[in-house]
C-alpha cells in the first residue's frame, strides 16, 4: 500500500516536472515567435531606411532591439519555472 502511494507520488512528481518543462518551453517559444515576427518587420523596414539615409543606422539597430523585451521576459519566466 505504501509502496503504491509512493509510486503514485513519484508518478505525479514526474508529471509535474514534465508539465513544468512544457510550460517553460511554451513561455520561451511563444515569446520568441512573437519577437521574431515583430523583428522581421522592423528589420526589413530598417534596411530600406538605412539604404536611404545611412545616419539612421544607430537608431534602427536600437529599434530592432526594442521588441527583444518579449523574448527576454519569456526567458525569465522559463528559467523561473525550471529552476524554482
Amino acid at each position: 500500500m505504501e509502496a503504491d502511494l509512493s509510486a503514485i507520488g513519484v508518478g505525479l512528481n514526474a508529471v509535474g516536472i514534465g508539465l513544468s518543462a512544457i510550460g517553460a518551453g511554451l513561455a520561451i517559444g511563444l515569446s520568441a515567435l512573437a519577437t521574431a515576427i515583430v523583428q522581421a518587420k522592423v528589420g526589413s523596414v530598417a534596411v530600406a531606411a538605412i539604404q536611404e539615409k545611412r545616419e539612421l543606422t544607430g537608431i534602427m539597430i536600437l529599434l530592432i532591439a526594442i521588441p527583444e523585451t518579449m523574448v527576454i521576459l519569456g526567458f525569465v519566466v522559463a528559467v523561473l519555472i525550471i529552476y524554482t
Binding site: 544607430g58 536600437l62 532591439a65 526594442i66 527576454i72 521576459l73 526567458f75 525569465v76
Partner: protein, 636 residues
C-alpha cells in the same frame, strides 16, 4: 553638461555690417538666429530679414544652380561609380553670385542633365522593346507575313496563368471567335513559358469590331491585351511590332553612345563640379545670413547666442575693432527662451567618450540635464552586470589596448577604446563577485564567488537586477523633479515624487513578503503615492503606474542576458571536460567561448544603451532643441 549660453545683440552703423560679419566669423562662437524672432526688435523700427527683390532673385538662382550641380554630380556618380575624384579644389575667391559665373557653368550642368535624361529615356524604351520581344519573338515570321498582306490585322493577347488554364481559356476564346466571325479569324498560339502564354489573333480589318466585342469586351476578365506604346504606333499592330524590333538595334547603339558621353563627362567634370558645389554652398550660406540681419537706412542689428564664457571675448574684440561704434549687448536667457537656445554639450574627459551615445538622439533642451555623466556610470555597470566574467574582461582589456596601439590619434577610436576599457573593468569586477572565469573555471581553480554564483541563485540575481533597475528609474525621476522645479512645473514634480514612492513601496512590500515580515508602512506609502498621482495626473495615473512597473520589470533583461551568457560559458567548459581528446576539447571550448564572447559583447551593449534610451530617458529627457552651429570662417 549643457554649456550656459547668453543672448547677444550687436548693433552698429550700416557701413560696419561687412566688417562685423567678418569679425564674427573669425571669433567663431556666435550662433546667429533670425532677428525677426527677437521680440525687442519690434519696438526698434528696423526692417527685419528683408531682402531686396534683386537679392532674393540672386539667392533663388544660386540655390537653383547649387541644386543642379548636386544633381549633375549624382548623375555622373551613377553613370560611372568606379570613378572617384580626389582632386576637387577648395573654392578660393570667386564671384559666385555674378551673372557671368552663372552663364559659364549653367550650360555644363544642363548638358549633363539632358544627356542623363536621354540615356534614361533610351533605357526605358529598350526595356519596353525587350519585353515585347520576349512575348513575340517566335511570332516574328508570322508578323512579317501579316505586314505584307493588305486588309489583315492582328492583336496580341496573353495569359499569366499555368499552361493548362491558359490553354483552356484560349480554347474558349477561339470557339467564341469562330462563332462570331464564322471561322474568318485565326488564333496562332505561342509556345507557353513559365506562367505566361500568348497568342496572336489574325483577322480581316472589316471584322475588327466583332473581334473587339467578342474578345476584348465580352471576355475581358479572362485575358490581358497587349497594347503597343502609343508613341510607337505607326500603322497596324503588326507593322508597329516589326518597327519596334528594327528600332532595337538603333536604341542599343544610341544608348551606348549616351553612356559613353556620360562617362566622358564624369572624367572631365567631376573635379570641377566638386569645387563648384563647395563654393556655391558657401555663397548661399552667406546670402542667407544677410536675411537674418535687421537693417535700417543707417543701422544693422544681429541677434544670436554665444557660450557665456566667450561673450567677454566678443565684446572686447568688437570694442577693439570698431572703437565703440558697434555695441554688443548680452543677457541671460529666461525660461521662456529655453526652447530656442542652441545647446552645446561639454563634458569632462572621463565622460566625453560616452557623449557619442547621445549622437543618435536630438540634444536635450536647454535648461534640462545632460545625461552623459549618468550614461558614463551606468552603461559600463549594466554591461559588467550582464557579462560578468574575468576571462572575457581580459579579452576586452586586450582589445582596448589594441585599439590604443593601432589608432592612437583617431578621436572616434579613442572614444571606443575608453568605452571598451571601462566595460572591461566592470566586467572583471562582476566576474570576481560572481566567481566566473571563462564560465566555471574560477570554481575549478578553487576560488569561491565573492558575492553569489549566478546560476545557483537565480531569484537573488533577479532581485538584485530589479533593485538596480528600480534605483535607475528612481534616479531618472529625481532628475525629472529637478527639471520640473527649475521650470516651475510643480504638479509634474509631485507626480514624479509619487513615482519614487511607488517604486520604494513596491520593493519594501516585496522584501516583507520574502522575509515573511508584516507589511507595516509599505501598503500605506503605496496608497498615498497613488492618491498623490491621481491628484497630479488625473485618471491617466493608472496607466502611468502600469508604465512605471513595466519600466522596472524591463531591467530583468540584465538577469536574462547574464544567465544566458553563463549557461553558454558553462556549456563550453562541459564540452571540454566531457570530450575524450584534450585537443578537440580545447578547440571546441574555444569556439563556443568565442561565440559567447561575441554575443556577450554586442547584446549587453545594445540592451544597456536601450535601457538608457527607453526606461531611463523616458523619465526626464526632453529633446527638440536647436543644435549649436556658430558662424565660422571656412578653413582654406
Amino acid at each position: 553638461m549643457i554649456v550656459p549660453m547668453k543672448r547677444i545683440r550687436i548693433v552698429g552703423p550700416l557701413g560696419a555690417t561687412g566688417g562685423c560679419i567678418r569679425l564674427l566669423r573669425e571669433n567663431g562662437a556666435l550662433h546667429v538666429v533670425n532677428s525677426k524672432n527677437d521680440d525687442l526688435l519690434g519696438k526698434s523700427g528696423l526692417n527685419v530679414g528683408s531682402f531686396s527683390s534683386e537679392t532674393s532673385e540672386t539667392l533663388k538662382r544660386t540655390e537653383s544652380l547649387l541644386f543642379d550641380v548636386r544633381t549633375a554630380m549624382a548623375l555622373l556618380r551613377k553613370s560611372d561609380p568606379s570613378h572617384i575624384d580626389l582632386l576637387s579644389m577648395e573654392p578660393g575667391e570667386q564671384d559666385w553670385l555674378s551673372d557671368s559665373f552663372h552663364n559659364e557653368y549653367k550650360p555644363i550642368v544642363d548638358e549633363i542633365a539632358s544627356t542623363a535624361a536621354a540615356a534614361s529615356r533610351l533605357n526605358a524604351e529598350m526595356e519596353e522593346i525587350r519585353g515585347f520581344r520576349l512575348i513575340f519573338e517566335e511570332f516574328q515570321p508570322l508578323v512579317e507575313v501579316v505586314v505584307s498582306l493588305k486588309g489583315v490585322e492582328m492583336s496580341g493577347v496573353f495569359f499569366r496563368e499555368s499552361e493548362g488554364t491558359a490553354a483552356r481559356k484560349m480554347d474558349e476564346i477561339e470557339k467564341a471567335l469562330d462563332d462570331a466571325t464564322e471561322g474568318a479569324c485565326s488564333v496562332v498560339r505561342g509556345k507557353p513559358q513559365k506562367n505566361l502564354s500568348s497568342c496572336l489573333l489574325v483577322y480581316p480589318f472589316s471584322l475588327g469590331n466583332k473581334v473587339q466585342n467578342e474578345v476584348f469586351e465580352r471576355h475581358a476578365k479572362k485575358i490581358q491585351t497587349i497594347h503597343v506604346p502609343q508613341k510607337l504606333e505607326k500603322e497596324t499592330f503588326a507593322s508597329t511590332l516589326l518597327n519596334m524590333f528594327k528600332r532595337e538595334k538603333t536604341v542599343e547603339s544610341e544608348l551606348e553612345m549616351m553612356q559613353e558621353k556620360l562617362r566622358g563627362y564624369s572624367v572631365r567634370w567631376t573635379s570641377l563640379l566638386g569645387t563648384l558645389e563647395k563654393g556655391l554652398k558657401r555663397a548661399v550660406k552667406e546670402l542667407r545670413l544677410q536675411n537674418y540681419l535687421a537693417l535700417s537706412e543707417k543701422t544693422f542689428w544681429i541677434t544670436g547666442w554665444i557660450p557665456a564664457e566667450e561673450s567677454k571675448n566678443l565684446e572686447d574684440a568688437a570694442e577693439m575693432e570698431f572703437g565703440g561704434s558697434v555695441i554688443v549687448f548680452t543677457e541671460k536667457p529666461s525660461p521662456a527662451d529655453y526652447a530656442n537656445v542652441p545647446v552645446l554639450l561639454n563634458n569632462p574627459p572621463w565622460a566625453s567618450p560616452f557623449q557619442r551615445f547621445l549622437a543618435i538622439f536630438p540634444s536635450p533642451v536647454y535648461g534640462s540635464v545632460d545625461p552623459t555623466v549618468f550614461i558614463t556610470v551606468f552603461f559600463p555597470l549594466f554591461f559588467g552586470l550582464m557579462l560578468g566574467d574575468v576571462g572575457y574582461a581580459l579579452i576586452l582589456g586586450f582589445l582596448a589596448r589594441l585599439i590604443h596601439v593601432r589608432k592612437p590619434r583617431d578621436p572616434l577610436w579613442s572614444d571606443v577604446m575608453a568605452v571598451v576599457g571601462a566595460c572591461a573593468v566592470t566586467t572583471a569586477l562582476f566576474g570576481i563577485l560572481y566567481g566566473e572565469f571563462f564560465g566555471k573555471m574560477w570554481q575549478g581553480l578553487g576560488f569561491p564567488a565573492a558575492f553569489f554564483h549566478r546560476k545557483e541563485e537565480i531569484i537573488t540575481l533577479l532581485a538584485v537586477m530589479l533593485l538596480v533597475g528600480g534605483l535607475h528609474v528612481i534616479l531618472g525621476n529625481l532628475i525629472a523633479i529637478r527639471n520640473s522645479l527649475y521650470g516651475r512645473m510643480f504638479r509634474d514634480a509631485l507626480a514624479r515624487f509619487s513615482d519614487i514612492g511607488f517604486i520604494g513601496a513596491a520593493f519594501w512590500i516585496a522584501w516583507c513578503v520574502y522575509s515573511e515580515k508584516p507589511l507595516e508602512w509599505g501598503g500605506t506609502i503605496m496608497a498615498l503615492s497613488l492618491a498623490v498621482k491621481l491628484l497630479s495626473e488625473g485618471p491617466a495615473a493608472f496607466l502611468e503606474v502600469i508604465r512605471l512597473f513595466s519600466n522596472v520589470l524591463s531591467y530583468a533583461r540584465l538577469m536574462a542576458i547574464g544567465l544566458a551568457s553563463i549557461i553558454f560559458a558553462d556549456l563550453a567548459d562541459d564540452f571540454f571536460l566531457s570530450s575524450g581528446g584534450v585537443v578537440i576539447g580545447v578547440i571546441g571550448a574555444m569556439i563556443i567561448h568565442a561565440v559567447n564572447f561575441v554575443i556577450g559583447v554586442f547584446d549587453p551593449a545594445i540592451q544597456a544603451i536601450r535601457l538608457h534610451y527607453v526606461e531611463f530617458f523616458n523619465q526626464f529627457y526632453k529633446h527638440g532643441s536647436v543644435e549649436y552651429a556658430p558662424l565660422k570662417a571656412e578653413i582654406i
